[in-house]
């Protein structure tokens, strides 16, 4: 389990993160939330195609993925990423949080779902959860 509040940053490798959202503000905001955790390296993608390319290149520890994006949406993008890497730790972050959509996201391969607006604490819990699940 990743205990982000307890592990000294110097004792572990950086947590790598890919932030996928078409909204420049949300990418800025999520990066700001991630910066609250020590030793994080974040990259960004503004659409599904960029996300797949960046995932292959960057192999991040976690992916924060929006659902509603122009072109290929987040659900299809998660399917593509998980087809190549079933162990990908994808956290869906969306304001579309109805039951059917949450189930669709999890069936596509997302490991966790957080409804917008997201707080630092929710993000921390989600990251802990996806690392726990992958142990």
């Amino acid at each position: 389990m990743l205990e982000m509040t307890q592990n000294p940053a110097s004792l572990r490798a950086p947590l790598t993160c890919l932030i996928v959202d078409d909204s420049a503000f949300m990418r800025f905001h999520l990066k700001r939330l991630m910066d609250a955790f020590e030793n994080v390296v974040a990259r960004e993608a503004a659409n599904g195609d960029e996300a797949v390319t960046e995932y292959e290149r960057f192999k991040p520890d976690i992916v924060l993925m929006d659902i509603v994006m122009p072109g290929q949406g987040g659900i299809e993008t998660v399917k593509q990423i998980c087809a190549h890497d079933p162990a990908a730790r994808v956290i869906m972050i969306s304001s579309l949080s109805y039951q059917e959509k949450v189930e669709e996201a999890l069936a596509a391969g997302a490991k966790c779902f957080v409804a917008k607006p997201v707080t630092t604490e929710q993000l921390r819990q989600a990251i802990d959860r996806v690392f726990t699940a992958s142990v």
Binding site: D22, S23, A24, F25, M26, F28, H29, V68, M69, P70, S94, S95, L96, S97, Y98, Q99, E100, K101, A115, K116, P117
Partner: protein, 153 residues
């Protein structure tokens, strides 16, 4: 017009604005118009489709938009920069996404398109749409919301 859905949009607008921007004052003035009342400087439009179709238009003056964006960015922008526009756009998206989630959980499948953000021209239309309009007063100024939504048939 699906008045039951309009109430969901209104409740979601108040709830999300309160949660994200701060205290709001819901004005008791919902009005119906043949076309949207949207002529202010900053306009966000979100199209809806699925078993019910329509659009929601948010508009506000530029000072209100910059102050709200400043709240979201933790720093007031000097002008309506692209990131400030994106913040307003995302706020509209979160409000509508929340409302659509409630409507879907009630059994009607409705989807949303990514928001468009621009000036008053964005909301201009030659067509008549029965529109319900309501204002919400925030600490930073008034946000006006136009909702057009009807069943597919």
């Amino acid at each position: 017009m699906r008045l039951d859905f309009v109430k969901v949009f209104r409740d979601s607008t108040s709830e999300m604005l309160q949660q994200i921007v701060g205290p709001v004052d819901e004005m008791d003035s919902m009005s119906m118009h043949a076309v949207p009342l949207a002529g202010r400087d900053v306009t966000a439009v979100i199209e809806l489709d699925g078993e019910a179709q329509g659009r929601v238009i948010f508009d506000m003056d530029s000072m209100t938009a910059m102050r709200i964006a400043g709240r979201l960015l933790d720093e007031p922008p000097p002008v309506m920069t692209p990131i400030a526009q994106s913040a307003i756009s995302e706020l509209a998206s979160m409000i509508i996404g929340h409302a659509i989630s409630v409507i879907n959980d009630q059994g009607t499948h409705v989807n949303m398109e990514p928001p468009l953000i621009g000036d008053a021209e964005l909301a201009r239309t030659e067509m008549c749409f029965e529109t319900l309009t309501f204002p919400v007063q925030t600490l930073f100024g008034e946000v006006r919301v136009n909702v057009m939504i009807h069943d597919l048939d």
